[in-house]
């Protein structure tokens, strides 16, 4: 079992299928997660948001913007490309490596909130934790996802979940974001092998 296609594919996914979340829904979810982060981290003190490429990055950026609007706090933003930490190199082969950007403040002693679009097997998050470990030593690591679709293969759970969407393994969850795909939506589709 590999990674969910939704977070790996940089190309815009096809939008055929059942729409689960619309633009407005996604905006409200971001607002809610931003509030939750503020609440759980005493006003985002020492927090660093780290988006997991590809679609975790615009989500993290939106959260930074919302947190700043709500509480006038500037939360540092990082970008993590986990390609070189994947455990399926032998299965899937080499692919182009995206850009990783550590915020200037670093992550040592910080509370890092990893941000991704879909939580599925947990392997992406596992790779992201490995990658973080090589960059520095955070005080704590939390996880925020837009969608949790279940089917975990590792003991990993999210601290902030936008929406739980029960799925079958034969289905796939496509997250579309304005920044990468031209519009906001979450679509459930039957996987065509």
């Amino acid at each position: 079992m590999g990674y969910p296609a939704s977070s790996a594919s940089a190309a815009s996914p096809s939008t055929q299928g059942k729409t689960i979340l619309e633009t407005g829904d996604i905006g409200r979810i971001i607002d809610r997660i931003a509030h939750q982060i503020l609440e759980k981290t005493s006003g985002a003190r020492d927090v660093v948001l780290v988006g997991i490429a590809t679609r975790g990055v615009p989500l993290a950026r939106r959260l930074v913007e919302r947190i700043s609007t709500f509480e006038s706090v500037d939360v540092p933003l990082g970008v993590l490309d986990i390609t070189l930490y994947r455990d399926d190199l032998r299965l899937r082969g080499a692919r182009s490596v995206g850009h990783t950007e550590v915020p200037p403040e670093g992550i040592d002693g910080r509370r890092v909130v990893l941000v991704d679009d879909v939580l599925f097997s947990g392997r992406t998050v596992r790779a992201a934790l490995d990658a973080l470990k090589d960059i520095g030593r955070p005080r704590a690591v939390q996880l925020a996802v837009l969608v949790d679709r279940g089917h975990r293969e590792l003991p990993i759970r999210a601290d902030y979940v936008g929406k739980n969407i029960p799925t079958a393994l034969t289905e796939s969850v496509k997250v579309l974001l304005t920044e990468t795909d031209g519009r906001d939506a979450v679509v459930l589709q039957e996987e065509t092998a």
């Binding site: 490309d81 070189l84 930490y85 190199l89 032998r90 082969g93 080499a94 692919r95 182009s96 490596v97 995206g98 850009h99 990783t100 550590v102 490995d130 470990k133 090589d134 960059i135 520095g136």
Partner: protein, 304 residues
């Protein structure tokens, strides 16, 4: 991605660009405290060096180790190779050891091609005779790109012993693939018969070329060539083809000075030029590790 990297001609513009792009990310990692990635954990990379080249071997070794591969250094000195074991028998040994990649440096042109017919693992040419040195060309392209902002449309002069230079051969191929214009500058004795088919201009007049180039790549010139009557004396060579401050002053402001090393100061390049801010010589070494990490990642990444 290709199976082996034997020649710079194995790379088209897309794959060369992919390797260079990935190398940028690999280079970023070098600034971190922990210079290590788990990517090639469990893979075995053999450095098979028939020719002394500490810098290239170390560069490949660092690259493989930073990607967590197991590295076996197999040097011709003090091994069964020096006892007369054939390249083929050595290849079969490496094959039996389960080498996922063999990085080979050899004094005979084409030895990596032969090796690739005998092992299943990836073969990376780390310099063969007077044939090619593709990873050197990649790191030179990387250096050019980072210093000049791009390669397409840039003009690079490659100066010196083109005839015996594997660096020149690989660079002419790769720079052309990436859209640069190349001028070879050398005394006529050090330009191969048959150069007309290369995608490069040839000039015997270094001074005429200087004002129009974005980069000058100086090749090492071995003193032994004098004995073979390629040129009369080191002094005359330096006067006509050496890079000194006077020639550097005639380069465009932005032009850079490159050398694949090891250089012979005073022969092809004066010390003040080698140590000037225009010189990328030290940077080239650092870039070498990142580029070789990228090559290992892309070749081994596709390996099942």
């Amino acid at each position: 991605m290709i199976h082996d990297l034997l020649s710079a001609a194995d790379l088209d513009a897309d794959s060369a660009t992919l390797i260079l792009d990935t190398a940028v990310e690999m280079a970023a990692m070098a600034d971190r405290d922990i210079k290590k990635l788990p990517t090639l954990r469990g893979r075995t990379v053999v450095n098979l060096f028939y020719e002394d080249s500490t810098r290239t071997r170390i560069s490949f070794e660092a690259a493989a180790k930073r990607l967590s591969a197991d590295v076996i250094n197999f040097s011709a000195k003090g091994s069964s190779v020096s006892k007369g074991e054939s390249l083929k028998d050595t290849a079969l040994t490496l094959q039996a050891m389960g080498a996922d990649a063999v990085v080979v440096r050899h004094q005979a042109s084409g030895a990596p091609h032969r090796l690739a017919t005998w092992v299943d693992g990836r073969v990376i040419n780390a310099g063969d005779g007077t044939h090619e040195h593709p990873t050197q060309a990649l790191l030179d392209a990387y250096t050019l790109r980072s210093r000049l902002g791009g390669i397409a449309g840039r003009h690079v002069a490659i100066v010196g012993d083109v005839l015996h230079s594997r660096v020149a051969r690989s660079n002419v191929l790769l720079l052309h693939t990436l859209g640069a214009k190349v001028t070879l500058v050398a005394p006529p004795t050090l330009v191969p018969v048959g150069v007309s088919e290369w995608n490069a201009d040839v000039s015997y007049d270094f001074d005429a070329v200087l004002p129009s180039v974005d980069a000058v790549m100086m090749l090492r010139v071995q003193r032994e060539r004098m004995g073979e009557a390629y040129f009369p004396s080191a002094r005359e060579y330096s006067r006509r083809y050496g890079l000194d401050p006077v020639r550097v002053s005639r380069l465009p402001e932005h032009a850079i000075v490159m050398h694949p090393g090891p250089m012979i100061r005073g022969m092809e390049i004066t010390p003040e030029v080698a140590d000037s801010p225009r010189s990328t010589i030290v940077e080239q070494v650092a870039n070498g590790v990142a580029v070789r990490m990228s090559v290992l990642y892309h070749l081994l990444g596709g390996f099942k």
